[in-house]
Symmetry: C2
Subunit: 524 residues, 2 copies
């Protein structure tokens, strides 16, 4: 069976489809007419003060790096997709928790709104200002402070880049418990603040399990240190770190943290499979769970449109299974302590998958380099979609039975609204099938067009909720989904969230207009 | 190497040592003089109303089961160790979330204090009344409501017994993500409320990672449903379930929950090893992490005193490694999807461990029955210590380098105070070495004696904190450790916990005198 599956991973690259080449030229044309407009945002609240030159002077006494002026601030004002843009007039880049504390204390007293910022790779506009909020960048706090080889626990500042942490851990026989496409840029503080998921979730689970300590600064400048005794088990009081995880900078600013790292697997294998339909993808998942079990380290899927978007952009890549009629590709990664054992399990899995018929074709990466190229076919989707036009990115989780149904229904709906998938738009589905986490991306090669948006929203969110899913699986809420939170959380839950926000940040200076609908925070 | 290790697990049972036989007779004598006195407790707060007959009449309209009178209430008033005893005059046993809501709404309005109660197997007096609080038992809410075979997520009521859940899941090819000695009695709601750890933690991690939904009722009766869309990934707002996990019934009453279960491993192997000293135990742990890696499912240790306590009580058990001079036993369990692979890994581990010298002897359980008997040698320690006299149970986590040092220092300290380990007391150390979680138990065969207690406390807690550990690894705080919370959490963290408590339970009716030091909640 392995011989059937083990094909060379550098088969001739499929030519980019004509329709996509045409689309690219349309896109270029549309760009001549200007960039996509800014999305609608919440109105600036009058509760916040306007920045004065006295404020900037004060900041210079408390922050070791202060940037001022439109030019210097611009990289901190615009998100990486150029979708959201704030107009902060000052960017503070503290080098210590003490600096963060002094800054927040000052801002709280002055009622200056603040946006905490990490690697700025989020997808929901959470880390850039909506209006003129002060940017508080943690990027300079990037030291890994301690590592315990007995437990695998690393303690670090919030601005450490995830990829740097992973490299540090690998040298010591461990591995970061999470990995995502943005690992070269995103920071661990941002990962925690957004409860990032990624491709190792299926193996190592949620950051809620891996995080064993958080130090954060409250809106009033109080430092709450729950990171200095970073133990795997510690049941002394309420889970303050957990409250910060996923709060997207609205309850406090994460300054230090401790993560428990799993041992690095010594052997890694990657398979790339073709499935004719999404039931085949689900079948492959079930068989992978059974046969790969404890060595399954990732299981991801892309549909044909997602794959084509990558191949159109990343010209050095190719699909080793090109030429077949299968609509889906599944990437399966095994990682374990014995390559021979893992190989035997993978062989059994493939045999079962071919016998079952859920998988119609497949290759095993013959080398780490080839494996990385297969990974790029999956991890390149997000950037490739973004590069091709104006993209609506929906990150949802759904019961497996409905996971791809949403993509099909979306195509039907857009076609009915005059936007057939193909020439002008690209509707793609991909994601972490092992976690029931779908990324539905709709790229408009013509740039932002209101009728397309109106056809998509709120329909996508409402449909997800109706199908029993979450409108945000791993990306969070940011400024993008505040209006849809109510689809997943009943009024008592939202009311309690608002109470917690008011208790921890009574002047509401932290990351305003994000996560909770602003109206929820207006005094009753 | 396997032949050296594979000895029959039913070697002749070591005779109970003379000193322990003598101790048992002393213990019987001491019991003639009466039971251990109740431990000191916080004073009853005047903020709470006294139960009236009108209240009981009202409860009968809202709860489908109401128990009244000293006799009927007694089992709900006394903890299983007979260490803490309350004097509730009424026990409410609702059958639904709606009943819980009605009860709490009433109690909040009336300022009646309430103790939520699960299986009552906790070790810190958290689930029994301190004074006359109303007992709210979730035991009748014991339905498993739904199971998703695609994801392994089970949704259930809070009163489901952990062992019943595990049996339910095993029939469906999955396994509960936690297991502990009390699994036949403890409830999943109690497990969540206390953030229980147990023996599968080293493999499946914290409940914080496994729990994908909680429904709870706030003190004022508001139902907060975050359990009805039980997805592995859901980043829509603040982590309310996480706030409830480990809050020990002080922030809300957990009524329903959803847990993500891992697939059941098809093969399980258990080894029982002898280590001459604790460095040997640490060495075995390091080698197990390296060689067993992804199939390591438990690694536990007991010292000689802990083992003797079990053998003295459980007369049908024996130590297959009896006769040697080694002070420690380590139980290693592997669980995986391929018994042959796991066996090969286990063999490599044992070879490395014998070569290294960290392990001096060992057996592999030749059958599931024998494996279970080995597990009883570990899991029987807690009950055996409790049965032998008045026991001080300390559940701490510590850096591995200091883990057993605490036990040695404790023996030295008690000997210097006139309580040498042996005739009158038994100082035992055991626990989850893979999680750096030590259970230090001190059993006084003579019953409760204040000078022994004074020699132990607060020294143990202060020493743990000085060594960089947590005063509660997995048992929680209850009414037992409120005074020591400050050793692990700085004042700003405690102040924030108190703020959260006041925000969620302004009349402080939920599980008073527990978790937070009562003085912290007095109005400033």
């Amino acid at each position: 069976m392995l011989s059937r599956a083990r094909r060379v991973a550098d088969a001739p690259r499929a030519a980019a489809s004509l329709r996509h080449a045409a689309a690219a030229s349309l896109r270029r044309a549309s760009r001549l007419f200007g960039a996509a407009p800014r999305l609608a945002v919440a109105e600036r609240s009058a509760r916040y003060a306007e920045l004065s030159s006295d404020d900037v002077a004060a900041f210079r006494t408390m922050a070791s790096s202060v940037l001022e002026g439109a030019e210097a601030c611009r990289p901190y004002n615009v998100d990486w997709m150029s979708k959201w843009e704030g107009r902060a007039r000052v960017v503070l880049r503290p080098a210590s928790t003490a600096e963060v504390s002094a800054i927040l204390k000052y801002c709280d007293a002055r009622r200056l709104a603040v946006v905490p910022q990490g690697g700025k790779t989020g997808l929901v506009g959470g880390s850039v200002p909506v209006h003129d909020e002060v940017v508080l960048s943690l990027a300079r706090m990037d030291r890994i402070e301690a590592f315990d080889a007995d437990t695998g626990v690393a303690t670090m500042e919030a601005g450490v880049v995830l990829g740097d942490l992973d490299a540090f851990l690998r040298e010591r026989g461990f591995v970061a418990p999470l990995d995502l496409g943005a690992s070269g840029t995103c920071t661990v503080g941002g990962n925690l603040a957004t409860n990032a998921g990624g491709v190792r979730f299926v193996r190592y689970g949620s950051l809620r399990g891996s995080c064993v300590g958080v130090e954060f600064v409250k809106a009033d400048g109080t430092v709450v240190d729950c990171a200095s005794v970073p133990l795997r088990k510690d049941n002394t009081g309420y889970a303050l770190p957990q409250l910060l995880i996923g709060s997207e900078g609205t309850l406090g600013v994460i300054t230090r943290l401790a993560l428990a790292a799993p041992p690095r697997p010594s052997a890694v294998s990657v398979a790339w499979l073709a499935c004719d339909d999404f039931d085949g993808v689900r079948g492959a998942l079930a068989l992978a769970r059974r046969h790969l079990a404890e060595v399954l380290s990732a299981i991801e899927f892309v549909d044909g449109n997602a794959l084509r978007a990558v191949l159109d952009r990343e010209r050095d890549l190719d699909d080793p299974l090109a030429g077949g009629a299968a609509r889906f590709r599944v990437l399966v990664e095994c990682a374990g302590s014995d390559g021979a054992h893992d190989g035997a399990k993978l062989e059994r899995f493939l045999e079962a998958a071919f016998d079952d018929g859920c998988v119609s074709d497949g290759v095993l990466a013959p080398s780490a380099t080839k494996a990385e190229r297969l990974w790029r076919l999956r991890e390149g989707v997000s950037d490739s979609m973004t590069a091709a036009g104006f993209v609506y990115k929906y990150d949802v989780s759904l019961p497996h039975a409905h996971l791809y149904r949403l993509v099909d229904e979306c195509r039907d709906r857009l076609a009915a609204a005059g936007f057939p998938d193909g020439e002008e738009i690209n509707v793609a589905g991909y994601g972490h099938v092992g976690d029931a986490n779908l990324h539905l991306n709709v790229c408009d090669f013509f740039g932002y067009r209101e009728p397309l948006r109106a056809a998509l929203e709120p329909w996508v969110f409402e449909r997800v909720a109706a199908l029993g899913g979450s409108v945000s699986a791993e990306h969070g809420v940011g400024q993008c989904k505040t209006d849809y939170l109510h689809l997943n959380k009943p009024p008592p839950a939202l009311a309690l969230m608002a109470e917690l926000k008011r208790a921890m940040d009574p002047n509401l200076i932290l990351n305003p207009y994000k996560v909770l609908p602003p109206a929820l925070l207006d005094e009753p």
